[in-house]
């Protein structure tokens, strides 16, 4: 039963690690917008192709 003296601090350490990770994620803004990322994940990453910038974006209609 004295193994509890090892297990309890260990469990504690794990718990604190999880809380720390959560706090970090929250402060980094990962929970600010819960809707858009669900859409964003559907978009495939693609290779950036060289592009020609439009001369006048306002009249590019």
């Amino acid at each position: 039963m004295s193994v509890i003296y090892l297990l309890l601090p260990l469990a504690f350490a794990l718990g604190i690690a999880a809380v720390w990770a959560f706090v970090r994620a929250t402060r980094a803004g990962q929970f600010d917008d819960l809707e858009t990322p669900a859409h964003r994940i559907l978009h495939d990453d693609e290779q950036d192709q060289p592009r020609t910038p439009p001369e006048n974006p306002g009249s590019a209609v």
Binding site: M1, I4, Y5, L8, A11, F12, G15, A18, V19, F22, V23, T26, R27, G29, F31, D32, D33, E35, T36, H39, R40, L42, H43, D48, R51, P53, P54, P57, G58, S59, A60, V61
Partner: protein
């Protein structure tokens, strides 16, 4: 782009959508779009073509675009027309389209784009023009700093919840071991270890996330107001002190499992409620701005875009069709018609020409006009109106929620009874006196009470939002429910009871006229005119394919040919000047339309008057039923309108209202006066959409803005109905009444639990352990009741398809 064709009525966001549209049309299922249009009212993508020069002003950038580092700034732009996943994809590719944009992140729910850009490479106005050319017209001006501050606050709250949750879970695990040991025996060494561990975690949870309640209680004490935080803090503090002493002395109950769980649940409840209330406020805020934030300043022959703040009386500005006037002034040149409905509620456009007055906020309808400014900013009529709205909002007394009202009595009761218990037990059994008094304080901690309102309210707000009714706070539900059968309901006419665009209400044809396509011909020809009256015929033009050629457009009528037939459409005198022989039935129809407050429009076909159309604001189909329903419930229903008294009377008559309940020709100040007078007798509900209603909305007990309303009226109101029509009003009142019933029931359950537990604690029948097990039971009952109640039914139609 190639996709946006300014001449077409339909615009597509991508080729995929265009292909789908073609396929649907080919199968003969085109009416899908009419249903869809009614469902989500998605306007066509329509680039505004603005230069956005005002965005590059130093003053604007300093206020709305904080610097990240040297030369790099960020800001938030609210975009029109953002709706689906493809928009996210397109907008986040902005760095590839516009060089100098470092990052673009879209928040789909709020339709705001977070842009970071290098101002040495690209100007914000160029970014705005690019977005505009995609059909997402950007809007700015909302306070980004305030939003960032709110976001930081949200994050702090979430961290508190996380810590409280982790703590509560771990203490609960230890508590299971302790309860097991209590029943089956456990070595004292391990019991002590678990109790000390629980104490450490428990104190961390109480002092970090739990400090919120202590601060709330302290604030309530200082302002001598009742707040639920007070009895909660007393319970928490009593439990923490007793638990700590018991842990150190190694005797009795330690309470930390209940306390941490309580802190966690209460925090979750508050967070959810807070978030839903803010979500409602946010989505209302992100609607459009009322007055433009830029103006086209005319200097000699050149035109320059400047921010409205820099305008001064005496300057000349140019206002194009579709734009609103940036300031009050006098028209110098140009003939046009303006829509003043924001100010007056009058739906019919008013013709203006040189010398006439133009007001800030009015929309220019047909042609470019030049205006000499006479007043700007707060000195304009709209500015004064906004000041009035602010004043009315300020005067509104804050509401004390039902639970907080109870909390005051609760605190006094709990402390009083504890003191009595202590005194009584000192005589009976002095050793156990403190124990009993403390356990009384703990069991009377109103956890159920603290959970009931936030959960019931947030469930109701969430369901209401899904039914497209945005309610800005829980206390509004209480106010709505409290007086749903005794108050006065004031309805605005234009935009609320009637549709705010003109339409053909009546149609009278010549007897024995066999021309089945006449209406379609008229629609085809009228669709080529920009005159406001012509717009009334426009909906029918979408489905016709007739060849219409406009040969002449005048102020009061048009002429042209459709499929080879010569058509003359216009006002009485326009047609009379061209056709001599007007039959009798035409005059009769005209007189009748005029007395019904409709504008008669004459239609002549091949030199003969063939039909007369009555054009006006159509009464919404659900208005009559809704009015009757509220009258049945005992509310007094009245109309407050800025429109002509005769028009208001006609609408009131059609809805079955008594003439003395139809008030027409009211200025915004008159509306406020009527609302405030009625408020002295009882609760007043005001429903409206325009800026002219906003002050009255703010003054009323509960102000309800309807679909399509102006920004000022939305921010002044407490509820926003996101569905067209007034039928949502019935859902709103019924939902609020049901929600309050559930809140009352929850409060009753938790109170009776507290009473029973307190009685047991006073007599010493219940020991602290049993109390600790009973305590969460009340909370779970309340949670269950709040979650499974029926409050707001979801919107009757299914969710819109993508």
């Amino acid at each position: 782009m190639g996709l946006v064709d300014p001449a077409a009525t339909e615009q597509f966001c991508c080729r995929g959508c265009r292909a789908v549209r073609a396929a649907i049309e080919a199968c003969g299922l085109g009416s899908y779009y009419r249903m869809k249009a009614a469902e989500d009212a998605l306007g066509p993508a329509n680039p505004s073509g603005r230069a956005f020069a005002d965005l590059d002003e130093e003053a604007f950038l300093d206020r709305h675009a904080p610097k990240v580092s040297e030369g790099v700034r960020w800001t938030e732009l609210y975009l029109e027309g953002v709706h689906c996943s493809a928009c996210v994809w397109l907008l986040e590719k902005l760095p590839r389209v516009a060089e100098g944009v470092i990052e673009a992140r879209l928040d789909l729910r709020r339709a705001t784009l977070h842009v970071t850009w290098d101002e040495r490479v690209i100007a914000l106005s160029a970014i705005a023009r690019t977005l505009d050319s995609f059909g997402y017209t950007p809007h700015t001006g909302r306070d980004v700093e305030a939003h960032a501050a709110r976001q930081r606050e949200d994050r702090r709250f979430l961290v508190r919840i996380g810590v409280a949750g982790a703590g509560a879970g771990n203490v609960m695990l230890l508590a299971f071991a302790l309860y097991g040991g209590f029943l089956h025996g456990m070595e004292g060494e391990y019991t002590r270890l678990f109790r000390w561990t629980s104490m450490v975690i428990g104190l961390v949870v109480l002092l970090w996330p739990g400090s919120l309640f202590f601060r709330g209680a302290w604030a309530a004490l200082r302002t001598r107001s009742a707040h639920l935080d007070l009895p909660i803090s007393i319970g928490l503090a009593a439990g923490a002190v007793a638990g700590t002493i018991n842990t150190i002395l190694d005797r009795g109950e330690i309470y930390f499992d209940s306390l941490t769980g309580l802190v966690f649940f209460l925090l979750v409840g508050r967070f959810v409620q807070h978030r839903l209330e803010r979500r409602a406020a946010d989505s209302v805020e992100t609607l459009f701005t009322l007055t433009p934030n830029f103006a086209r300043l005319r200097e000699g022959d050149s035109v320059r875009e400047v921010p409205v703040e820099s305008l001064a009386p005496g300057q000349i500005v140019e206002v194009r069709p579709g734009e609103s006037f940036p300031a009050d002034g006098a028209v110098v040149s140009g003939d046009s018609s303006v829509n003043l409905s924001l100010l007056t509620g009058e739906s019919r456009p008013i013709p203006v020409s040189a010398g006439d007055l133009a007001f800030s906020g009015a929309v220019n309808m047909s042609r470019v006009v030049l205006v000499t400014i006479t007043a700007t900013g707060r000195a304009t009529r709209v500015g004064k109106l906004l000041a009035l709205i602010e004043e009315c909002s300020r005067r509104k007394a804050p509401v004390v929620q039902l639970a907080d009202r109870l909390a005051g009595w609760f605190t006094v009761g709990a402390i009083g009874v504890s003191v009595l218990t202590l005194a009584a037990w000192l005589f009976l059994d002095a050793h156990r006196a403190v124990d009993h008094a403390v356990s009384l304080l703990i069991v009377s901690c109103p956890c159920g009470l603290g959970l009931a309102t936030p959960f019931a309210v947030s469930v109701a707000l969430g369901r209401a939002a899904r039914a497209r009714i945005l309610i800005k706070g829980g206390e509004i539900l209480e106010k709505l429910a409290a007086a749903s059968s005794t108050g006065v309901l004031f309805l605005d006419k234009t935009g609320t009871l009637t549709e705010d665009r003109l339409s053909v209400v009546e149609w009278r044809e010549a007897p024995a006229l066999a021309m089945p396509y006449l209406r379609a011909w008229v629609a085809a020809l009228e669709s080529q005119s920009a005159h406001p009256i012509a717009q009334a015929f426009a909906p029918e033009a979408a489905t016709t394919q007739h060849q219409a050629v406009l040969t002449g457009a005048h102020d009061s009528g048009i002429e042209g040919t459709v499929d080879g037939h010569v058509l003359l459409i216009g006002a009485d005198r326009f047609v009379r000047a061209r056709i001599e022989d007007i039959p009798d039935w035409v005059n009769k129809a005209r007189d009748q339309f005029t007395s019904d407050q409709l504008t008669p429009v004459f239609i002549a076909l091949n030199g003969q008057v063939a039909a007369v159309a009555g054009v006006g604001g159509k009464i919404r189909p659900d208005a009559k039923e809704t009015v009757a329903e509220f009258q049945r419930r005992g509310l007094r229903v009245e109309i407050l309108s800025g429109d002509e008294p005769a028009t208001v009377l006609a609408v009131g008559h059609a809805l079955g209202l008594a003439p003395e309940h139809c008030h027409g020709g009211l200025a915004p100040e008159d509306k406020v006066r009527i609302v405030e007078r009625a408020k002295q007798a009882g609760p007043v509900f005001m429903v409206g959409d325009g800026v002219n209603d906003a002050a009255a909305l703010a003054a009323a007990t509960v102000g309800i803005a309807v679909h399509g309303g102006a920004e000022a009226s939305l921010s002044a109101s407490d509820v926003y109905l996101g569905r067209p029509g007034v039928a949502a009003l019935i859902d709103l009142f019924a939902g609020a009444t049901r929600t309050l019933t559930v809140i009352r029931r929850c409060l009753m359950v938790s109170l009776s639990y507290n009473l029973v537990a307190a009685a047991l604690a006073v007599t010493g029948v219940v020991n602290a352990l049993q109390a600790a097990i009973l305590m969460p039971l009340a909370s779970f009952t309340v949670l269950g009741m709040a979650l499974w109640m029926r409050t707001f039914a979801p919107a009757s139609k299914a969710a819109p398809c993508p």
